[in-house]
């Protein structure tokens, strides 16, 4: 390439031009994503209370100490694990089943797809409020249906009984997230070339064999990418829990992201919230590294 002994320019003209062209896209990302992240990390080490912004100062690891010494932290971490993994597995399983039903043409498919995808278009808070009323112990429709069906003899305090509360918020979250997998997996399945199915038919493959040897291998990159993304989103999704239980009763439904929100809404304490945020970032970093290497990132979508 350049063997004349002249020093290679640090940045070629083409690369500089590309960088220049990227700036309009890069600047908003830097300002809107990286600056708040950096600010959040700095806040984690500060006394940063909304009630007195005139007294912002660095306090070292005090916020982390307060969070790690919180007696509710073990429950919160356990809840976060349950919330993410039960929600993910059932959202994926139901979404996958729906996508198997929806990806081939049949009369009225558009209507069915519309109905299933609808939940994805709604706000998390709204979904939380709707489910809060449905799970209401006295006037909720779920108790009424269970009573009428003879499945229970007395009303269940779905949101008021700590034994039921976590289950109830997870049910609402599963309902919400099914649409995401149904959409993504249906789209991936619709891109499977018809010849593969024809070949499978000629080989005499039955439905299960087609699923195992044609559908799943073909959509595997989508499965890996969507499940990885979904874990991050579920982890950072306080809306439903916040609207349904506010983290209660008696802190029994808090996850890290609702706990963080709680520190802001009630305490106005952005320092403590920042510390919870940094802990969350660390956990997510560990998870994404583990997940991507465990599933071989080269298969994770067509990058």
């Amino acid at each position: 390439m350049n063997n004349t002994g002249v020093r290679k320019p640090r940045l070629s003209r083409t690369a500089a031009f590309i960088l220049f062209c990227l700036l309009p896209a890069l600047i908003p990302v830097l300002v809107l994503t990286y600056f708040p992240i950096l600010k959040g990390i700095v806040m984690a080490f500060q006394n940063y209370s909304l009630f007195n912004l005139n007294d912002i100062r660095f306090i070292g690891f005090d916020n982390f100490r307060t969070v790690l010494q919180d007696p509710n932290l073990p429950t919160i971490l356990k809840n976060t694990g349950l919330w993410v993994f039960i929600s993910l597995i059932l959202q994926f399983a139901i979404g996958f089943l729906l996508s198997l039903l929806l990806y081939r043409k049949f009369p009225g498919r558009g209507v069915y797809q519309g109905l299933i995808y609808y939940s994805w278009a709604m706000s998390g808070f709204l979904i939380g409020i709707i489910w809060r009323w449905m799970f209401n112990g006295q006037i909720g429709v779920i108790n009424d249906l269970l009573l009428k069906a003879g499945l229970i003899s007395e009303r269940i305090g779905f949101l008021s009984d700590p034994k039921w509360a976590m289950f109830s918020v997870i049910v609402a979250n599963i309902w919400y997230g099914v649409a995401f997998f149904a959409i993504m997996l249906t789209a991936a399945m619709q891109s499977i070339p018809e010849e593969l199915f024809e070949a499978a038919d000629m080989d005499g493959a039955n439905g299960l064999q087609k699923m195992l040897h044609v559908i799943i291998p073909y959509i595997l990159p989508t499965i890996i990418t969507t499940t990885a993304l979904r874990v991050i989103w579920i982890f950072n999704f306080p809306d439903i829990i916040y609207a349904m239980t506010n983290g209660g009763p008696a802190n029994s439904t808090h996850i890290l992201s609702t706990f963080m929100l709680d520190k802001i809404v009630f305490g106005g304490d952005y320092g403590l919230a920042g510390a919870v945020g940094v802990i969350s970032i660390v956990l997510l970093l560990l998870y994404t590294l583990f997940y991507l290497f465990a599933t071989k990132a080269s298969k994770a979508g067509d990058f």
């Binding site: 708040p36 909304l50 305090g157």
Partner: protein
Amino acid sequence: MRIGKKWFASTLLLVTALSSLTACGSGTSSEGAAGSGSTEPVKIRMIESLTSPARTEVLKQMVSKFEEANPGIDVELISPPLDSADTKIAQMLSSKADIDVLEVRDSTVKQFVTNNWIADLSPYTSKWSGYGTLNASAQMSANYIENKPYYIPYGLYEKILFYRTDWFKEKGLEAPKTWEELYAAAKAITDPSKNRYGYSFRGGKGADSYIVDMIRDYNGTNTNPEDAMFLKNGNTIFSTPEAKQALENHLNIYKDGSPKDSVNWGFAEMVEGFEAGVTGMLIQDPDVIDVVKQKMGEGTWSTAAIPAGPSGVTHYKVGAAGWGMAAHSEHKDEAWKLIEFLSSPEQNEFFTQKIGLIPVHTTASENEFYKTGYYKPYMDMNADAAHYIPVKPETDYKGFGEWRSIIQQDTQAIIFGRLSVDDALKKWDAYWLDQKKQGK
């Protein structure tokens, strides 16, 4: 390039993780650019906090009347969802977003003033004739911080007891005069087989004031009305045997006279429980009168004064919310014009009657509307100063926001047997002694 793709994929996912986390933790301030320097008309933006569709509609009507009377001023009303409105307002103020008039509440005014977010209105109130006719509670609320008017209340909130007269008649009961009687009545009415319960218990968001009010009443005249988390001798209200009795009575009302679900109930569920015929008693602010009137037939319910503690004393807080001005507003004169208009005796009477609030002008208290019917208990309570003692809200303490969460979660923990009454009271006592030490 396998490695390259791997790292690219990892980086992309990590960025997604980080950005979604940030989106969760901090508000996005996507407010438009300031509209300064525009010619005419001047545009001012106002934001409300205690939003509801019906209330927003009333506000819009008032804003339209204002715009008609002031053709040079356009008003844009912002109505965020109720649950996140105060956080949204705080974020807009801290980022100096384009806001001129805002709803200030007794629970937010301290924070707004400490951060220099809202303007002292004295230069305007000194020239406003309506300021002189504000009643004592409204004046006190307006001047609660630093003795300066930081907002003009649009109405006062004070709790009363709502009860089902038909159910009470069935059981031969009278409206309860003490908290013990309220417990007895709630227990008598409760019949889970009919899905009928005595009391709309508040165990969820906002439970704090119900617990604290009862504890104050049990402490009787020892409670210091000027600093009502404390007794006159300087100890906290949680340090006495009476506090334990009060908390136990509160828990018994839940256990024997309230729906199990109410451990999580907030405002909406309490009111819905009463309206839907699930509960026979409800303690709430006057804005509920109109809602209940619309849903329940005349003659099936009534209102009464708040029950008293064992010594016959009831403490009550007058809550307030009103209109304040952003300190950074570039259209202060126009903003004041709007506040003055909304706070005028005529507009205030219109607003309070539509929404169901206690009006702020002395001129309105002579109105028959408030002297009879469902509002009568307010007048009775205000007229009997020996038994009904107004107290200053504790909203000016720095730890007030955190306290609300602590007491709510702790009381739930007691209900589920995870915390003892004694330990909770000790914890709350220590919390308030610490607050006192830290100063306001």
